[in-house]
Subunit: 314 residues, 4 copies
């Protein structure tokens, strides 16, 4: 994460200003408001604004005139019931806004979640910073042999260094040529008055996909939980999972009851198919079941084993 002194000063100035409000506030989230949570080598997640709290979920579920909350245990019970039974609309009544800095190839995954509001930094209008993602060596892994979308073992030190050199050089050269194409410096100052640059909307095509971009991203709590449950999955790409982990921390600060219910009933839960349930019932009745007589494919059998042994299926 590499913020300029001006950016840090802007953030500090905003953190220093408080006003009185009749709206519900959440002290734990206020404490982290505006502050960048570092992710990857240059990325971050910052909470910019939020609406609602745990009580707002209860209030909406009850269509209340006031806060609508009762005893704390009743509120927790209602939130847990709503989460367990997938009553999604009360969770939609909370909203959160983030400022995120992330590599473009991750932004392309992220944007597939359509139920959010987005304002991205415009490379048609502005010049892209010279910042690109270089993985930590531990993340430089070979293609998985068992999983066509995942990673296997990490490269050894020399091989990793060679990869990083190559990534760094290509990204650097492409960005330098991008400025050449613009005929501008990074701060927009014109360079050679004797020749024309090309338009920003064109020059950006020469950048590599690990270039960092940034956006404001706003979403309701229900859809945030969907995003997190997909992107915290062990099958999600590491580079987006670390953003989801940072956001999970903001969730714990913001809506602690919903956060715990999410851990219990979504993240830690498992869905068993009809054939899996049939196997389970036989086993609980004392019948020995193996894959051959289970009615499950080899792949589903492994998935069931993993669930019952409490492993994640990496």
């Amino acid at each position: 994460m590499s913020l300029t002194p001006e950016q840090l000063a802007e953030i500090d100035a905003q953190r220093g200003t408080t006003t009185a409000t009749r709206r519900p506030s959440v002290a734990a989230l206020e404490a982290m408001l505006f502050q960048p949570l570092p992710v990857l080598d240059h990325g971050f997640v910052r909470v910019i604004d939020y609406m609602g709290d745990d009580a707002a979920i209860v209030q909406a579920a009850r269509v209340s005139y006031g806060r609508g909350t009762r005893r704390a245990s009743e509120d927790a019970g209602l939130i847990r019931y709503l989460m367990r039974h997938r009553h999604s609309t009360p969770f939609e009544m909370c909203e959160i806004k983030y400022h995120v800095k992330l590599p473009i190839f991750i932004a392309r995954q992220w944007i597939r979640h359509r139920t959010a509001n987005v304002n991205e930094y415009s490379a048609r209008y502005s010049i892209m910073e010279r910042e690109f993602y270089l993985p930590a060596p531990a993340q430089l892994a070979a293609q998985s042999v068992s999983n066509r979308q995942g990673r296997g073992e990490a490269l050894d030190g020399a091989a990793a260094a060679a990869v990083l050199d190559l990534l760094r050089e290509d990204a650097s050269r492409c960005h330098a040529h991008y400025l050449d194409l613009l005929n501008e410096d990074i701060d927009g100052a014109p360079r050679d008055p004797g020749r024309a640059g090309i338009a920003r909307e064109l020059a950006r095509m020469n950048l590599t996909l690990n270039t960092y971009t940034q956006w404001y991203w706003k979403i309701d709590l229900h859809n945030l939980l969907n995003f997190l449950s997909l992107r915290l999955d062990p099958h999600a790409q590491y580079e987006i999972r670390v953003y989801a982990e940072a956001m999970l921390n903001t969730l714990a600060a913001w809506v602690p009851l919903a956060h715990q219910a999410f851990l219990d009933y979504r993240l830690g839960a498992a869905t068993l198919s009809a054939p899996m349930l049939a196997v389970l019932r036989r086993r609980l009745a004392g019948v020995a079941v193996d894959q051959a007589n289970s009615g499950l494919s080899a792949r589903e059998w492994r998935e069931l084993e993993a669930i019952l042994q409490g492993e994640s299926l990496a």
Copy 2:
């Protein structure tokens, strides 16, 4: 509007509580927070929560690290530019939540706006109040002869009284029978222990469409402007237009710059078709144009006349 003392006390209690926040607050909207704005005979709109302000639109458009605002005139100019050119995403960065009480037949129109979050009072779970909409006599109008979806002249006093009697009697009888079907009092107390009622999810089918329901309704500013521009239109049904008018007042308090831009570039604007523009260019060039030589249908000709004379097309 008929709130119980308990409901009014809940609202007062909520209004009496303030906390400190680092989030932007809007004093003019805080002043009306939670208070019911009366609409129709028993309905209301209440602002329950909000996120963002005029500056948040600017901040998102600039993907800023801090508040991102500059001189007030620059901010106003940017908001007006965004509104004029239909750059919608920065307006999506503000969010507002309402509690609305409204007749069911209006709720059925309203819910067609799909880009909002809704929690409605559940008639599967709860008993519906004995409250139904009876139009003010001035609103009891005949079908329009020129517009198959609109209203014409108001009925005279005796005819209006007869209509109201009929509406009142049918709604009252249906609600009384609804309680009979439930075999419950309005507060849920059981009545005749010697017989079974029917389930709430069934009994509700005996209610009339002017029965009041209520919901929490949350929407971003961009989609709220779409809602308002459709429902403030003179062709919108009166009973939903008055809700839109109450919400327009909350808009003026919340985001005064966006509100003014909305008046200038959306509500007060008119879209001229290609054939209408061709007529206009001929007229400005001094050519006399009438409907026969205009290339417009009679209906489009009337629409153009109305636009140029500054009339709304009721």
Copy 3:
């Protein structure tokens, strides 16, 4: 279901017309195209149009140049994999359009599914038919004592008859008064020239919520599966569940592979929470677990028992 001879003739005429197309067609769905499938006493579901088939799911998942299908077993395996792992986007590539006739109080539940396209018969513009839903006696049940949203035992014959009389009389009277308010016959013919009726958009408020309405409703396959999984649930209200059941039959005809995968991995599946999985692991390890030492609430314990015994939780 009560279609007029004219309506039946229109349907027959449409069924009698075939054209040649390069698009994929599904013979089993073509066989039921346009035909009303009766639901409740006057309702129906008709398939009006469709796009895609099982192979289109495969084709989209592979971003193919041609049909993209391989051996039948491979295609089935891919579809089952996509369903099991909630890869939703390939299912979005199929689309279906229905014409549905249904009581208004059910339409109000149904419309909460926002990811569909809807054109409803307009009571601002047209006159509503004199058709209302009267439950079959077996459906007239008391409020459930265990479930605040459900039904318990059916009423006995005399009590049921009394309920039906009351529902019929109120709906009939309200509809008759609706025509009086309009001062029109059901076919739009004016009645008493000596007095004015009120506008259609107003008069409709006097109808009861069991009045039938109708709409065109179009949805992609992914969102249809979400709709069906919610509305086929034993907790769904009977009156919407029967529509979902009729639509499930159209699903079987349209995309048989996706339909079977849906039965195995969605409808027949169960989600076990983290605490439930912990109980299960102890039991499979031979530990005796009861509710007291399970860490589950009484309610969750019952839910787990029901899953393991293969019962639905009515």
Copy 4:
């Protein structure tokens, strides 16, 4: 556009297969079905499937039992009325599915339209082809001086050649290194058995933003018109506008009545703000108005002049 013989054969095979259907078919669109319409140097748009036609719009607007069409002039009049008055739901009843090949930096603009279904070729799972966009020399233009998001004059021949050399070399080198990182050939054959490559989900970050990707993209007609009206605008980037132009041709073949109404009431129309309308009324009344006494900003005054002179505002 560079399809392999295998891809062309797949397309031909699919074009050669016809079946009988009861669904409405559109001969002019059937004629172009599956065929790639070339866009840019290697891109294309192909229509893969469609649902509905002009009559389906009418049918939905009337909630018909049969086709619902009447005389051709009545249908055209209804479609034009719906378009003029922004009655969007009947247009949502038609759906179209495209296969599109496009540069990544354009895909990033395109995906911002959220109301569509997308399946993109996966670079986590598959190897990206060595195909990248190089602008035609006439498109290599300098940044506009008047418009911070647009282009000005084209570069002269030598400068353009230098730009193209640089773009070609950087994209080529980055793609070659991408294969080195994978330690795979373009067809997935492993290269050096003595060393490990890195996972596909990682290696892709070394590609430049002008690399071609492809996706299946499905959208309803209403949202397609929104997409086209934004992307056919003279302010839209050239590289996305040419895709929109190809799609406009498919629109003309598919729904000719809606297409003509779209030209008249959307593409060729102009929205005049309240202050612009006030100026217009004064001018039509014979008053001489200039910018100084118009109440318009200099920018709005130029926009009004352009509208009235029938110029587009490039």
